[in-house]
């Protein structure tokens, strides 16, 4: 399966663990990714709050580049990028007034988007395209006995569910089970982690992310898995202040979907960028040395 790949900015910075582990596991899953040439920021939730036409044009330029490259599908690991790109696709194909302005802005840069590209999130591709049976066949170091918390966050499900049910999502649960792990049940799996509020409204942001951590901790999970690089960073960072926020220390490693898959495929820490996690070495080591890992 060949896909055009849109990394998005955070995937190559704070979310580097995600992209590095993706590059490690993709070939094993039969996914061939070619990175889009000269992509730009999708605009995410921030530019939308400042200038709507600019936000949609930023995402629209990427769609135009994907179309120009002949891609039918554009894959990204970032839920926020997937949402921004989907919104631009909609604005550019629904005949709306704002869509006309976005087309005009794109044309000023020499771009045109006819509307032929389908945007997909990586989790959807892995679960629904690669398929769980194929995935099971690749598992060499099953996550037996490892209780993993499936944390979706927001934008992979809302407002456009990416190949899942937005009310009762199951893709992460299916993924954990296919890899031989045990699913931890907790209430806040689709609640918001607070995202950038950690910078702009620390009290609210910390309250949101620490509640998610508390809910996960109660489930007895030994690891958290998420399809979002911002959630990954936020949930890792808030645990540094867990003593102050929750009254006791919590140290649960937060993995991206590709890191979890890589562990079950028996890949090593370097390939999966486990050394880039903020969790203490001992916690990460525990994941690697778990019984059944064969390491």
């Amino acid at each position: 399966m060949r896909y055009l790949y849109y990394p998005g900015c955070s995937q190559q910075a704070t979310g580097r663990t995600y992209e590095e582990s993706l590059r490690a596991v993709a070939p094993e899953l039969g996914i061939e990714l070619s990175e889009m040439d000269d992509w730009n920021c999708c605009g995410t939730t921030t530019v939308m709050a400042v200038n709507k036409v600019l936000a949609l044009s930023l995402a629209g330029r990427n769609l135009a580049l994907a179309e120009r490259a002949g891609a039918k599908e554009l894959v990204t690991g970032c839920p926020s990028c997937a949402l921004s790109l989907s919104k631009a696709h909609q604005a550019l194909t629904d005949g709306s007034a704002v869509g006309a302005k976005v087309k005009e802005a794109l044309a000023a840069g020499g771009f045109e988007y006819k509307g032929t590209v389908k945007v997909r999130h990586l989790l959807d591709v892995i679960v629904n395209q690669v398929g769980l049976e194929a995935l099971k066949g690749k598992v060499r170091a099953p996550l037996a006995g490892l209780k993993v918390a499936p944390y979706y966050g927001c934008q992979v499900l809302r407002p456009y569910p990416q190949g899942d049910d937005s009310e009762r999502p199951q893709n992460l649960e299916k993924l954990i089970q296919a890899l031989g792990g045990e699913v931890a049940d907790f209430a806040l799996k689709t609640s918001c982690c607070g995202g950038t509020l950690v910078a702009t409204r620390a009290k609210v942001g910390n309250s949101m992310s620490s509640q998610v951590i508390a809910s996960i901790e109660k489930s007895g999970a030994k690891a958290i898995v998420t399809p979002c690089s911002l959630c990954q960073t936020t949930l890792e960072a808030v645990q540094r202040h867990s003593k102050k926020l929750l009254g006791h220390k919590v140290r649960i490693p937060v993995l991206t979907i590709t890191q979890l898959i890589g562990l079950a495929l028996g890949q090593d820490r370097k390939a999966l960028a486990l050394q880039r996690l903020l969790a203490p070495k001992a916690c990460v080591k525990e994941l690697e040395m778990r019984p059944g890992a064969g390491a």
């Binding site: 900015c9 955070s10 190559q12 910075a13 704070t14 580097r16 000269d38 730009n40 920021c41 605009g43 995410t44 939730t45 921030t46 530019v47 939308m48 709050a49 400042v50 200038n51 709507k52 036409v53 600019l54 044009s57 930023l58 330029r61 709306s96 704002v98 302005k101 976005v102 005009e104 802005a105 794109l106 000023a108 840069g109 020499g110 771009f111 927001c154 934008q155 809302r158 407002p159 937005s166 609640s191 918001c192 607070g194 995202g195 950038t196 509020l197 910078a199 702009t200 409204r201 620390a202 009290k203 609210v204 309250s207 949101m208 960073t233 960072a237 540094r240 050394q275 880039r276 903020l278």
Partner: protein
Amino acid sequence: MENQETILFEGELDPTFFDEVAALPEGAHLRSCIQCGTCGGTCPVSPMLPHTPRKLFAMIRAGMKDAVLSSPTPWVCSSCYECTVKCPAEIKITELMYALKRRAIREGVRCEDSDADRFLRQFTRIVAKNGRSHELSLLMRYMMFKHPIQMLKQTGLGLRMMGKGRMPLFSHKVRDKESYSRMVEKALELGAQEGGVQ
């Protein structure tokens, strides 16, 4: 946070504000709001703020333009879309929050209780210039002068992220800068008509 009730006189209200907001693409279905409160019930941030989306919509309907545009609620909205997918009237609440933010920026109305607008505008400036976002310069620009204490508190995390190679010092830029800038310039111009500024 203390919730204060203020008496407003009719003369202080803006009689056209509701119609203006309802006429926006984001304001579709706003007239169908029955004040059921599902939005506030699902919102993870507004319990910590003076106005839930429901309350904000009642204020829009009443014409309380100044209070709406200076409310912290849109600025603290985390774009989680819980309210949007659950609203029985199908109001695109998250998109409406974006529209209110753009309107507040355009009219120069500041929220006393949040300077998230500075964060959003800095981000936009960086992306408009380089084509890619850059977390380090964004956080530095946002925090250095206005939130020095918070910045110091976050230094440990920042350094740890740098040590892990997750906070690059330099930003990537788009290669085809010329055509990118032409597009951005045009978008900014057209967006300003829509109620966007930079």
